[in-house]
Amino acid sequence: MATLTPAQCIVAALAVHLGPNTAQVAVKAFAERALGVHAEEVRLDQVPTLLQALRPMLRTLVGQRASDETLERLGRELR
């Protein structure tokens, strides 16, 4: 079975809320904005920075509790 990249894991988790299309757009946009790299090039050590960058967007759309829960779970899974 092919291993998922960190970006693919984040897209999969965000897709629950945003849908697959917008989740992909989000990870691509925020990886470029916060890390200056393409989504596929995000390394595990860059994940916390990327999740931090995604936090305000997710908080705006689902509120703080759901946003924190989603990102913290992702952070644990990708540690």
Partner: protein
Amino acid sequence: MRLRLLAVLPLGVATVFLLAALAAAAPPGASAYRWATLTVTLLAAAGCFAGSRPFASGDPLRYGWLLQSWGYLLLATRTIPALRDIPAAATLAVLLANVFGALSPVLMVRAWYGTGLGSAIPPVRRRIAVLAALAVALILAGPSTSLAAARLAGNPTAILDLIGGVGDIVSLTLFAPLLLIAVAMRGGRLAWPWGLLAGGLFCWLLCDAVAFADGCLPPAILGALSQSLRVAACLFYAAAGVAQREVSRPRESAAP
């Protein structure tokens, strides 16, 4: 909670209401209509209030949902007999409800684009959809708005009609961006509250469109159609708020 059920409920209830109203041949303004209007308007206010609860002070969607809730509460006051008999109070309530109803989707759409997800919707598609919705809104609400503008001189209440008409045009135009946002998030849980909001606006749009059939259909049928669409619109808003609350519930504590 099954989000799909929230989409089916407003249509189901509105259909049953339409069939019952047609069978009873109730005249427009019948007390049954007033009670139905009061009930669904209060449900919409409660649903939108529930939608605001997951958000903290300062979150733009909190104000979007709250404005919608206050707007429906104001509309509900129109059915209170003591207030209904005071024309100025009733007019002011409708005016404020229109302003809140127009401001709310503006805030929500701005909040969505403010998150940085705007590139999920191609700009060309966005412009075409907004222009098409604006054209429909102008066709539906434009004539009454321009009449109100023409009556401005010497008629103090015309300004209220004018603001109400402009509010209608703004909120009907925002149907397009709401729908595009819902479509962009298809497959995700957030598509439900946004899609249901778009559904509510679409029903209000149809409600305005029914007025064009005045004279072509018997008043009882026209009243039943208009009331059923009002029921559907209010219930779509109620469902949208409940869906937002459900979506915003942390998944670990969410009901399976």
